[in-house]
Symmetry: C2
């Protein structure tokens, strides 16, 4: 019944390819095709798709529209959710200006910062609001998702405040593991984590090619 997290993580990539294929005028796509496009195992793609309950046709593949519809629904991206950003630094500003969230069903509606120098200035189409106005804003606009882009040292305090204001989902870009009550969901997006994987894979790869080099020398 519940869909594995790794599958959830692949869904956005599927969506990208599917939308691309749809735009290209295609009506069906096979798991094999999707897999090639993403560098995945076709069997895995079929399994992922099967978790949505959608059925395909042998020799044809899956109905693209149907896949898009169901995956979007499973991700909850078919309804737009309003969110706010706390932290108008480099990253927060970049996120505020990014216009690609619409396709994730996410709509940034405000950005907050505690610095008096930033309050009132504009970031993209927003005017930076004060932390004092945060509580009221969340209540009045029934916001349930917040994006944290403050420095690590302030992250927990901001998080606590957000939770107190009733925020239920936190997308955390600060390099800090936040503690929240059981009723709140935190998802961390950490550059360090991502880069760690790149670092290790790269060293391994470089070591491999060094090995090859020395092998070749021996010929």
């Amino acid at each position: 019944m519940s869909i594995p997290i790794p599958t959830i993580k692949r869904f956005p990539s599927y969506l990208r390819i599917l939308n691309q294929a749809k735009d290209a005028g295609k009506k069906y796509i096979s798991a094999t095709n999707l897999a090639e496009e993403l560098g995945l195992n076709p069997i895995q793609v079929r399994k992922d798709i099967s978790s949505t309950g959608i059925e395909g046709k042998p020799k044809i593949g899956f109905d693209i529209e149907e896949l898009i519809h169901y995956i979007t629904h499973v991700l909850g991206w078919d309804n737009t959710t309003d969110a706010l950003i706390v932290g108008a630094g480099n990253l927060g500003s970049a996120i505020a200006r990014y216009d690609g969230f619409a396709s994730y069903g996410l709509k940034i509606v405000a950005i907050f910062d505690k610095s008096t120098e930033k309050i009132g200035t504009s970031v993209g189409s927003f005017t930076v609001k004060s932390m004092e106005s945060l509580n009221r804003f969340i209540m009045e606009n029934r916001i349930s998702i917040a994006v944290i882009t403050v420095p690590a040292i302030q992250a927990q305090a901001v998080c606590d405040l957000l939770v107190k204001c009733g925020i239920r989902g936190i997308w955390n870009f600060a390099p800090k593991d936040l503690k929240v009550p059981e009723s709140v969901v935190v998802q961390r997006t950490d550059l360090a984590t991502s880069f760690a994987v790149l670092s290790v894979k790269l060293s391994k790869k470089l070591a491999e090619s060094d090995d090859l080099d020395s092998d070749e020398d021996m010929i």
Copy 2:
């Protein structure tokens, strides 16, 4: 011998806590302690640490300095690697201005863009360079890592160019699954993927608390 990817992904978090503890003047830390700090299972922490070969002392824990040293080494963060950014948009600029990469052993040394309007302008402490100068720059400075922050539609072309120039590791922020030769490593950092997980967990959580609410109504 080879360390599991999930372990690698947890290492940066360990490092953060360890450095924090070190700064607080502590000399030892237990797996239990680390686990609490990060919301992990202590057994898992011990297992992760055991993959570095470091041994702890019962009732005391692990030597913090030693842990920091080994984890940093495993991640290859003990030597600084130069990297460049391609794409001086919002995200590229934010990354160029971010000064936290030093602790990952990563040093951004230049930023490139194809837009004639951006070339020559400054982003943080850098001056945006032209794509024409990319090849020469990579050669002369022996760059092996590149960060891609161009729009999805240009990502593959930029990637191909980088590979041709000899780049071996690509940190891809574009929402696109890049195809590269076997000798090149790509790591994608995708906002959509991260947000997908948040979306699904949040809907589940909200559904749960709805259930609770209705349960309570029945009392």
